[in-house]
Symmetry: C2
Subunit: 420 residues, 2 copies
Amino acid sequence: MSELQPRSTRCHDILGCSGEGVVRIAYNTRRHREEFQIVSSSTASATSVNRVFNFNAGPSALPLSVLERIREELLDWRGSGMSVMEMSHRSPEFESINAAAETGLRKHLAIPDDYAVIFLQGGGSTQFTLAPMNLCLPGKPVDLLHTGTWTAKALTELKKGIAHRIAATTEPVKFTRVPRKDEISLSPDASYVHLCTNNTIEGTQYHAIPETAEVPIVADMSSDIASRPFDVKKFGLIFAGAQKNLGPSGVTLVIVRKDLAERADKNLPTIFQYRTHIKEKSLYHTPPTFAIYIVGLMTEWIESHGGLAGIQKRNETKAKLLYDTIDSSNGFYHCPVEKDSRSLMNVVFRVAGINGQSAATNPDEASEKEFGKQAAAAGLVGTPGHRSVGGMRVSLYNAVEPAAVEALTSFMRDFQRKRG
Amino acid sequence: MSELQPRSTRCHDILGCSGEGVVRIAYNTRRHREEFQIVSSSTASATSVNRVFNFNAGPSALPLSVLERIREELLDWRGSGMSVMEMSHRSPEFESINAAAETGLRKHLAIPDDYAVIFLQGGGSTQFTLAPMNLCLPGKPVDLLHTGTWTAKALTELKKGIAHRIAATTEPVKFTRVPRKDEISLSPDASYVHLCTNNTIEGTQYHAIPETAEVPIVADMSSDIASRPFDVKKFGLIFAGAQKNLGPSGVTLVIVRKDLAERADKNLPTIFQYRTHIKEKSLYHTPPTFAIYIVGLMTEWIESHGGLAGIQKRNETKAKLLYDTIDSSNGFYHCPVEKDSRSLMNVVFRVAGINGQSAATNPDEASEKEFGKQAAAAGLVGTPGHRSVGGMRVSLYNAVEPAAVEALTSFMRDFQRKRG
């Protein structure tokens, strides 16, 4: 039985490209926890905090530099004499915060002018309901590409009286990949095609968006929004809870082609019409002001990492390290997802037992439970898979540092040495 | 022309009853701004922040002690190694936060066991839509007590195909009071009675809830929830955005009698059924975790002020000081609301011009504009009335300190001396 080895103390900048922050990481084998000593040039004194490596599936890790900024501005936002939480949503101060979040997203996601950017509440589950209410045309079905838990939820809502077809499903292969081009059978007259770009629970992701000709795509992008550059023009409507890549929970980003928002019956409840929020720039009613402020800070953080191209590179590096560790484990770890559908955001894998059998054929729940427990004790939090599917799931959203994945893969090799 | 007089420096505890905080308030006539020097026993060093007096109508002031607590816990919530914003909503840590918020509300609002307490998103405007979807019985109308802007919004949604009656309206008297008992004509078979307990824009408030026999009341309590003790049993459903008295925007408190939630058609969209959120204890989908955490902190703050009885006393004292200042101004200030309908939360008034005429008969918009401008320059923020009605509006929600009202009334007397 080996022990976690002490790592050499080193410096690593995790405060963006500003060079403001210095983090000293020292493994402490007794406490099995990362200890961060933060020295920020923006505060006069050193602050010591104990932060874990956070692989939660959402809500999830936020950049330390963003949290520090929030903390610094919490009692007095830039001389306003109040917290962002205390501002009227009709004040010039908050209007500037709201506009900055939209502007940052438009810039980094390259959102064209004929698309609206609005901040709503209620997450993806609300959007499953609002999208058909707003975008369905009489007699024209919704085509669904069924790839797992979240499209199943969308399907449940469509079954409540909305014409729809399953245009593709990977359920027969247990959702271990997204559909291939030749498996997708679209209706010629669909109102829209619904798909989920990244399947958080199944660990799959589209690496090419299906072609749908003139039929607009409604994309649940909750778990991979802003993780890589993408062409907004391929979509009619994009929605995403902020709590994976863009901020805290409580705000839902909706990007919608303006002409599609005009499909809605004006007799729909006012609050359920996209056009209401487009017209009022997300200020029809009181928005989740503090969450929108943090989305704006996240766009600045994306900027400091070279925009989405830089973020993509960083995410690819993190995912490669983890998948390589799994694939080179001689079957001790096994990722059930087909290689060309593997998610860069959520890495799912199974763990073998101590009996020498392969995780592919004989995953061991006791071993997986022990993995999650020992990982948490070592300050590597959030590795157990979704309660509905078991196994392990490691989420590598934007704010997860490469150093976190290095620590995790180091732990994984060690765990294997002890048990494999 | 007199100037604002320097006030003597004094100590005033605004950090609850814990005695932890000391605030030194010094008027600076040149800067016209309150300056707070905060010494908290929970931090090693003194921190200086510049905070205004905040009379915003919502989002609105939060207690400084609550903001400080948020700040202290922002990078590492009680040894968890992460911010509340970064926690999985399925984690034991967040479940304890969610439960604490509910428990605190149940205790201080004396919510009986046959009522559910749930945290939703979308504010009052969403509840106008969800309440009829969930609570309407076939052929039984909604009775509406129409008292201003917010009941007008509810009415707009009812007009989209929901049977309803206006059971009382004070529109003929320009909403300067709530309806009297003998003006309310209820249907014997209504699904429910909709009313707004406090009218934020008109500055009116019910000081006795109308009797409706067996017909449940749906109450929009957004702007006076938790401002005074009240009997939950008089209501069928209560909803309130947190952003006035209970926290930041982005979370909506719903208190609903459990049997009423069972009226809803199970074919309604899942996310729009109250029963979904009751069954899942607000965790059906990702809730606005950080906002719920702050609601929990607010219940602790209410506790530290003697519960709702203590809060009520404090609110009455603040409102009395302001109304007395208006009423004793010899007509320079005028509150158009009838005395027995006056809101303790939102005090509306008009201001006279420099021509010696009365604000009751000749309110002066130029003078009101000047009032708002000079008040803001003196660190008294948020006094202009709602853009739809003009005049002044001062919101005195729970977190507004008595010292803020003292500063405001001092300013008001001074403003009058200069112009009256």
